[in-house]
Symmetry: C2
Subunit: 380 residues, 2 copies
Amino acid sequence: MSLQVIVSVGSMNNIISFNKVSGILVCEAGCILENLISFLDNQGFIMPLDLGAKGSCQIGGNVSTNAGGLRLVRYGSLHGNVLGVEAVLANGDVLDMLGTLRKDNTGYDLKHLFIGSEGSLGIVTKVSILTPPKLSSVNIAFLACKDYSSCQKLLMEAKRKLGEILSAFEFLDNQAMNLVLHHLDGVRNPLPASMHSFYVLIETTGSDESYDREKLEAFLLSSMEGGLISDGVLAQDINQASSFWRIREGVPEALMKAGAVYKYDLSLPVEKMYNLVDDMRVRLGNLAKVVGFGHLGDGNLHLNISAPQYDDTILEQIEPYVYEWTFKHRGSISAEHGLGLMKANKIHYSKSPETVQIMASIKKLLDPNGILNPYKVLPH
Amino acid sequence: MSLQVIVSVGSMNNIISFNKVSGILVCEAGCILENLISFLDNQGFIMPLDLGAKGSCQIGGNVSTNAGGLRLVRYGSLHGNVLGVEAVLANGDVLDMLGTLRKDNTGYDLKHLFIGSEGSLGIVTKVSILTPPKLSSVNIAFLACKDYSSCQKLLMEAKRKLGEILSAFEFLDNQAMNLVLHHLDGVRNPLPASMHSFYVLIETTGSDESYDREKLEAFLLSSMEGGLISDGVLAQDINQASSFWRIREGVPEALMKAGAVYKYDLSLPVEKMYNLVDDMRVRLGNLAKVVGFGHLGDGNLHLNISAPQYDDTILEQIEPYVYEWTFKHRGSISAEHGLGLMKANKIHYSKSPETVQIMASIKKLLDPNGILNPYKVLPH
């Protein structure tokens, strides 16, 4: 019998400092993300990450899992935004890497080992993070595209024409839309005239309401004229904006309500991303519904397969095919959710044996007895 | 007698791929930064880093030293922008971490160990990097402030009011300005009416020429009215813009021409940064000129001390005082230039003993015989 200990940092939930000149926040690991968002809102700043689970997730966990989320396309990953961490090692040593500097080239930047290593090298106890100023003008458009190629071209155009104000570029296919409309109360299709193959949510964030809106309107007009979008609507108020986000963020919930679901969180080259959804539909035929949605702007596909109940026949059609497909296209089998227990043995689909070997050596160096988050991340 | 080998990757200078949808560039380590900038310019993209040495420095070196430079305030550090590297280890193993994905949470993100470790853990041979779209509208203002406190307030205001278009916030003090005016041919003061205590260069980059210019003009007007700036001028054409940058970028060259120079590249909390310059002036009196300039937007001070010739009396007044001062304020003794040979033994001013110990263990793990860039980075 082996004893297992669960460590909670939930009561370490103090904000240690906030500097309004630099925008640098230092806090304890147990701070709930949403509380940090509220705190910063009062100071005129925002967190560089936002995700559906913000009401319960803690910043220490966000950092330990290198959480991605909705603002990554604009503000980049936590490896760029986290300036420092304090971590407790397996032997009890407290490692003070809690810098509050944007630039620091003194030796190896060890904090990156603790960002995304899922607690397996140390327990993150404090975090220092660079927060951007809050910009007052947010606009959201909900659009329809006739095919995936149009979604891609729209992304390229949005990057160029919306440039510095683009803050989200999300997509869902019509299977995902159908599920949301069918299973979530009070959700309706903002483009009800006909069903389209793909839906795209574009958000802009800037500092000038009238100018930003004009810019987005001009972009939508030219995209409509160029045939990239078939239909579209711009949110007229904050309630409509929330209802657009509700559709995109509601997909996982709708899938849960629809029955059994096999979930894959993949990074793939944008131009090939949706081919996997098509291929999977061919493989599964009538056995299950294949749903594709996610953060198109980051090349991050959430491939979800929905069936009345869990069934080994279905699973055999999906795995290892989905991993092999991802490997073939040099993708990542875990874009933003981490490997955890279920995918630890599948790391070789995304990382070379030499790289995994060095990860194991570093694990052994920092946690020789393997007591931190055992059986996770690295292959057994 | 010990044999030393110098490895050049200068002939590994091919661009391997560029993806116009994602903006991801993959190239060999020997590519000259300026060549990459030109290549991307033709594709409608830019490199997320730019520095004075671009005509000769190589991307592999930029990554290995985690180069900062002029665009960091907008696009962040290389830890955020570099998506992958290939590195050759001390034992000859080629470590393939050359991902081209914005998100990849499969195991420890080892590439960060090679960013900024100055070649001491492996030789970077290929790089994959996320490049932002080129935005067509660039505006530059050259401003005067009466004191350092005004420079700081101006930075806060610029972050909020210029928001998403702010792309550089640089400063120099009047000592630096005097040196540039005195030692560099063809440079003249854009604000000649009187000498001011501080000069600030603000650059904006956006996608709409007339709007961006209006925005910057409105910002300058309100800052002038609020007393934050005493004088200012907006570049009217590309030549004038270059002449403004020439002043800021010309400071190191002017210092070289002025005689001996003691150079320190420090990160400090913005609000305390200039106190060090003042303190140093008090310590040195008439012995030497103390010059402060740098990337104010990043909290990065270049403290340079200029004297007719090198003199141990001067050095004793500077060191270890400057390091102790930086330590006391939790700054970095090497913000963007790395520790190299000269500062390897000074790492403890910026990093805790436990952290340095782990760095040494990782060095031993990856380079047990200490053959890669010996005597550098870590204390002897």
